[in-house]
């Protein structure tokens, strides 16, 4: 299935809005999304599969008397279906209930330019090219340690594009590319099996490090062997980017979303201008970050993306907004509306949640500790209390630090605490930031974390 061109994608969005306007809808918006993804998949130590997924479709929001209806379809070849989709959105709106806080769709604003988000070389990659990337990664892992076993992984390339149009004259098109590779490994020795260790690399441009990923995935698994139990105590903990992503996704990121604040689900309500974190912590939500995974010219309701200061030296500066939450407070959206392709209405999400790095190398962070824990991955972070920020998770794999060195892998240690206390207890950040999910973040050292052992 070949990709639809820019004109075709934009044409579809405009057509849908026009059809809706003819039907007497108060306001209408069409969002067209297209994604082409090729993957090569590693299964139990060998390249065993390759897949190509073409997914595109149209989502329409119709507003009648302040009630919002939404309908989507992926059957873009049929005029009849597109018209029916418009009608379904209209009928849904009529069935819905008026929302007094609805103050209209976004209006037209100029779009910024973004850099490092599209690379034609990625679009042209074949499954043979991806087989090469996956092989390089696999070979690197297998060569580095005989005790490790690559369980699964993949190399993938995607071309994504989106178009938006609404009855306020907003129109836009943007496209981007993503390339990634990942490998999950375990190590086995003398009857011991390590937890799954995982490494990956994701980029917007064709600048991937499969060999590094393979080596790192192997090194992590091998160093998770010979794990020992730890004692219950309060300890200094270095969280790697993986652990931070898990810890922050359900808690901190939600707490700065304006809709959570408005609905009294955020402990940050009423705290703008106040100290909410250690003064070493500065965070921006940067929708325009060069080569950022979530960098686009405009968000998923056509509002220009931007850089929004969230926390500056520990002081809470701003919340993030989509169109609805912003207009409810008489403010402008910060460009944080996000959708799951064409299948959903927009929800409020962070773009690139950028936690500013510090000056020390990760090695210096470790060598500065007489005693501590290095936590790579957390199990169960999604079961934390998202409103209060209380968490209770298993650190696995994690390593005990003694006298400035990584000493041994730990087994089954639980970490318990409150994420907002963690923010206050951050003492240092390393200089090794990387992109992971919504975060761009370095290793972070937190003091006085409760480690529950045996």
């Amino acid at each position: 299935m070949v990709a639809l061109k820019q004109e075709e994608i934009q044409g579809l969005a405009e057509k849908a809005v026009n059809l809706a306007q003819k039907r007497g809808i108060d306001e209408a918006e069409a969002f067209v999304y297209q994604g082409l993804t090729t993957n090569v998949i590693i299964e139990r130590g060998q390249i065993a599969r390759s897949s190509r997924i073409v997914d595109r479709g149209l989502g329409i929001r119709a507003i009648v008397n302040k009630a919002i209806g939404f309908s989507y379809t992926n059957m873009l070849e049929s005029e009849a279906v597109i018209e029916e989709t418009v009608l379904k959105a209209l009928r849904s709106a009529k069935a819905g209930k008026p929302d007094k806080d609805w103050h209209g769709l976004p209006t037209k604003r100029a779009y910024p330019s973004v850099t490092g988000t599209y690379d034609n070389k990625i679009v042209e990659l074949s499954s043979e090219d991806l087989v090469k990337i996956a092989s390089t990664m696999l070979d690197a892992a297998e060569k580095s340690d005989r005790r490790i076993f690559p369980i699964d992984g993949e190399a993938g390339a995607s071309y994504l594009c989106k178009a938006i149009a609404n009855s306020n004259g907003v129109e836009g098109f943007d496209q981007g590319t993503i390339i990634e590779c990942s490998l999950a490994t375990i190590a086995k020795a003398e009857g011991e099996v390590t937890p799954v260790c995982f490494e990956f690399n994701i980029e917007r441009k064709y600048d991937l490090k499969p060999e590094w990923v393979g080596k790192e995935a192997a090194r992590l698994a091998a160093s998770a062997l010979k794990a020992k139990r730890t004692k219950t105590k309060n300890d200094s903990v270095i969280f790697t980017q993986f652990a931070l992503q898990q810890l922050f996704y359900f808690t901190l990121i939600n707490a700065v979303k304006a809709d959570y604040v408005q609905r009294e689900q955020s402990v940050f309500k009423g705290k703008i201008g106040k100290k909410v974190a250690s003064e070493v912590l500065t965070i921006c939500d940067d929708g325009l970050l060069d080569s950022g995974i979530r960098t686009w010219k405009f968000d998923d309701e056509g509002v220009p993306q931007q850089k929004t200061p969230i926390i500056a030296k520990g002081i809470l500066r701003n919340f993030i907004y989509d169109n609805y939450a912003a207009k409810k407070e008489g403010k402008e959206s910060t460009g944080n509306a996000s959708r799951a392709g064409y299948l959903s209405t927009p929800t409020l999400e962070a773009t690139n949640f950028h936690i500013m790095p510090g000056k020390k190398s990760p090695e210096e962070l470790v060598s500065g500790l007489r005693e501590g824990l290095l936590v790579n991955y957390l199990q169960g972070a999604h079961s934390s209390n998202p409103a209060s920020g209380e968490f209770s998770v298993v650190a696995t794999p994690a390593w005990k630090i003694r006298d400035g060195e990584v000493d041994y892998a730990t087994k089954g240690a639980m970490l318990a605490g409150n994420i907002f206390q963690v923010l206050a207890d951050i003492s240092e950040l390393a200089n090794n930031e990387r992109k992971i999910g919504q975060l761009v973040v370095p290793w972070v050292l937190v003091e006085n974390v409760k480690v529950v052992g045996k």
Partner: protein, 478 residues
Amino acid sequence: MLNRFSFKNLHVGRGEILKDVLRKTIDVAVQKFGAEYAEVRAQKLFKTMLTLKEERVEATKQGIENGVALRVLVNGAWGFASVGTLNTETLANAASDACKMAKAASSRLKKPIKLAEAKAVEDKVSMKPKKDPSKIPIEDKISTTLSMSEIILGYDSRIKSCTIDYLDLTGRTHFMNNEGTYIEQDNLYVWSRLLATAVETGVFTYSREEIGSTAGYEVFDIETPEIVGKRVAERAVKQLKAKPPKGGANPAILGPNVVGVFVHEAFGHLAEADLTLSGSVLLDKLGKKIASDIVTFYDDGSIEGAFGSFKYDDEGIPTQKTLLVKDGVIVGLMHNRDTAQKFNAKLTGNARAEDFRFEPIIRMRNTFIEPKDYSFEELLEDVKFGYYLKNFRGGQANLDGTFQVGIQEAYEIVNGEMGASIRNASISGNTLETLLKVDAVGKDFELWPGRCGKGQTAFVCDGGSHVRVKEVLVGGSA
């Protein structure tokens, strides 16, 4: 307008034409590219979704989609293509794409993939709900979800927010392979999730419930807005006065809801044969004792109306009740055709795909522990100090058997009696160690619906009876 057809026709009609298109697509893979195996899965799906925040209907959503998933085995490697169309020409191209990709992947193959033999099946599976969600007016669905929200918010002034999500999915899946199998199977799912938060003097609590059924919209006649709404609201409020647990190893009674997530997360994933092969701790334990004698686990896809039930899986294999652990001994795993061949085991019908955008992979269905003979009071009796873990918030496990289950509702047990309410507890440990510490199993039985993520979403149930464990590590935020 040309080719105007009604959605009703699209839903049920054109079966023979579609069958022909699918056969042609398979022919391309087999005859032109020499695929050893080829299958197509065509779907037409209709969804209704609602999101309510407090008493506001955020959006009323409806969708229609169609598409085809094509999977081929060429030179022992898989090729997969997914396209959002039923167009003959596009499908022929996708078949050729899939075969070329399989060839590319096979260039580095060490062990070619082979499939366990399966009987060819021709069947048509129709759902007969008492209340077909696709025929219920959207206004009724809005009023059902609105009453949930009213009941939650009206329960107590300390409840500050609630979010209700609703989904129904109907449609049909057409499955064909080159071995003579052709199955038309209706899809029907009804699901809802209720979230509530309560706040009082700086304490934030959170409570969640899910409803899920493959029977029909009649699920709301049992799990009425009143019953479920109250359950969610009551828990959020109760937790305001709850205290955090003391960390440490303690005896615990797990409610069926927590047992379910333990059976699913801590044991079930390890017994998905693809993960077992990937190095789960069960790999060298097959046929051996891994749990105390009173532990028997099943994964059952045939429970009528349960959220994880279906008649045929996405490789065209009939579902069944699969015995995984019998009297403490692991006797079975969950398979697809690839792993059944590798283990020389019987097919279990566990290959499932979320929709045509995904490849089928090994998934659980309705997973549970078989009830024994203890009453709840008898379970409590012998506990001097411990915890009753009634309802879970989330859970996760690792191949090495490390598990973690977050708990949203728990109580202390003191001298055989229920004590104070506990907030934000979680349990963790090693699956195999914990299974050997099960010392009593209740006689009750409950199944709870949920959604499981393994790169794609599957609708499942899990549960069983109350279970007492001699010792489990209880952690909680201080």
